[in-house]
Symmetry: C2
Subunit: 338 residues, 2 copies
DNA sequence: GTGAAAGCGCTAACAC
DNA sequence: GTGTTAGCGCTTTCAC
């Protein structure tokens, strides 16, 4: 491995000078600079990131904690962070949290050991106090997809309530009167907010949503399928179905078809997230676009900024970072009456 | 930040002793060990990875280079590596290569700066000589989804030819006689191998595959759709369609439906990869399972092993690491005649 | 403009 | 069993 010493020796200068030309700062004579640059090139010298991180107390990595890279949503999230990282010449350090509180914390701790410049955290289960404490300790920590008032300026999140409202309104505008919802547990997280949005808009339009028409299941395709089967088994009547997310919506469509119901002729279905899977099914899924990639990129830049300005951290701003979902009309909603 | 020095000071021992108890090696008295452990706990001491990497010349990270995390296939790949990394107490350092040769190399170089213990590389475009050279320089480098004879033992790959043969055979067994293929460019990579497998099995069974029945397009849903449209426009007749991958297969199904053709009644369609998107479409896609997660996990363990045994690297073994795709029967192939 | 030198936090060889 | 010490490759302050 060629080190800064090697370069210095060959160039006949001190390592300080080499360091200066690498970072393009400090005063270095033009001749000297050119000479060192050439030698760096010739020797194919690459500064050692670990040494650099140790000496400068900040590394060239940005940490990301997500539940599971194998799910599209998190892949999108990660690729957004990666984009931001690349733009800032940083590397991605990943840690999966696998949906467990302890593992989430482990993941963060493990990233801290590496002195990441910033950390983007998609926390599912850690409680607010833990996260607030963490935010206090780690200047470059930004939460994605979660809002905690005390650390508002560290949160990049989506307005789930308004998203669900838009979806519901779309269904109402299409002339639907009989609603059903398939959602997931965790009432105090996304599913809860979305259901809240649905209920609110329905109420405002004087449409009833019987409790029996809300079915809970796991937030995946199977869950959607089972939930609709359960709804049907209970004898629920509905011509509009709101699913917690795209995966559930697609499972729901399967179950509906299997029951001899046509989508969207008999039942309109709307999803949430706008994963690419939504254009794989037939009918293509009408859904709410969750700009997760964009949000991840934004979060990354924010995290980097925060990590650099100690002041911003010291005086927590009240500004938060809210994104809005928007409607993607495709074919699973019968809106010809509009 | 609490360092090993702080711990040593509080415990009233030397840093060497602290280091010993952290690594659970070397001789340390029981009392002393317990005491140090307790203090580490109390102080919430976390060893600094960068310092450790610098001093020991090997880091706790494993690098991964993939084109793009936002695509399911690579998400699966990354999660496989992540699993292996976690099992070995390593962290994931990611770098997207974004489908360009230079970027691929950049990504690798950038990982090398961090002294990764091992690197898993999904190389799409780098030429063989470059990769062979790289393998020579980096003991822990393993290629995934690519086979290069000279560095056979560094390759974890899938037998695309046999996979395509199995798929083709399935269609033949189902009674099909008129075939079409939608594939992608890059004849010397996966698409080429798969087409080769198809041709081979067809020939063996005395079934003709007119050149006109092979259509090339980009390897995504749109590509599949366009390719089938082109096929149909040319007036090709076929009752069995082999797609390069699941994305193309689903696009193909869309185009077929749009043309008034039923799948599988009029045309049987088979994909490749077994992405979860295959169970989103209707009919659910019959496809070849590409065990990418398993392969990635395997590759990770292999890479770690290689990086540790200098000998294995010095004497390149002729053993390679080949995986086989297997058939996942679902509903897009009309096999009731079987 | 350039160099010398003191660390950064840790590992590992060696001494006791 | 335990401590001392010499680096690992780099950044950064301070002299000159």
């Amino acid at each position: 491995m060629v080190t800064i010493n090697d370069v210095a020796k060959v160039a006949g200068v001190s390592i300080a000078t080499v360091s200066r030309v690498i970072h393009n700062k400090g005063k270095v004579g033009d001749v000297c600079r050119a000479r060192v640059k050439k030698i760096i090139e010739e020797l194919a010298y690459r500064p050692n990131s670990n040494a650099r991180a140790l000496a400068s107390k900040t590394s060239n990595t940005i940490g990301v904690v997500t539940p599971n890279l194998s799910m599209s949503f998190f892949g999108l999230l990660a690729s957004g962070v990666e984009k931001g990282a690349r733009e800032n010449n940083l590397k991605l350090l990943m840690a999966n949290s696998l949906y467990e509180t302890e593992s989430e914390l482990n993941a963060i701790e493990s990233l801290r050991e590496n002195n990441c410049k910033a950390i983007i955290l998609h926390s599912e289960y850690s409680d607010e106090n833990t996260l607030i404490k963490l935010a206090g300790e780690i200047p470059g920590l930004v939460l994605i997809n979660r809002y905690i008032p005390e650390i508002a300026n560290r949160c990049v999140w989506l307005d789930n309530v308004s998203g669900a409202q838009i979806a519901t309104k779309h269904l109402i505008d299409a002339g639907h009167k009989h609603f059903a919802v398939v959602t997931s547990i965790y009432q105090n997280r996304d599913p809860g907010f979305r259901v809240k949005g649905v209920k609110h808009t329905l109420e405002k339009n004087h449409i009833k949503l019987p409790k029996i028409n809300i079915e809970e299941a796991s937030a995946n395709m199977d869950g959607g399928e089972q939930a609709v089967k359960a709804l049907l088994a209970k004898g629920c009547k509905f011509d509009a179905l709101l699913a917690y997310n795209d995966m559930m919506a697609i499972g729901a469509i399967h179950a509906l078809f299997d029951a001899g119901l046509r989508v969207p002729e008999d039942v309109s279905v709307i999803g949430f997230d706008d994963l690419s899977i939504g254009i794989a099914c037939r009918p293509r899924l009408t859904t709410m676009h969750y700009p997760v990639q964009e949000m991840a990129l934004y979060a990354t830049n924010l995290a980097i900024k925060l990590s650099e300005s100690t002041e911003a951290t010291a005086t927590p701003s009240k500004q938060t970072h809210l994104f809005i979902a928007d409607l993607v009309k495709r074919d699973s909603v019968n809106d010809k009456s509009i």
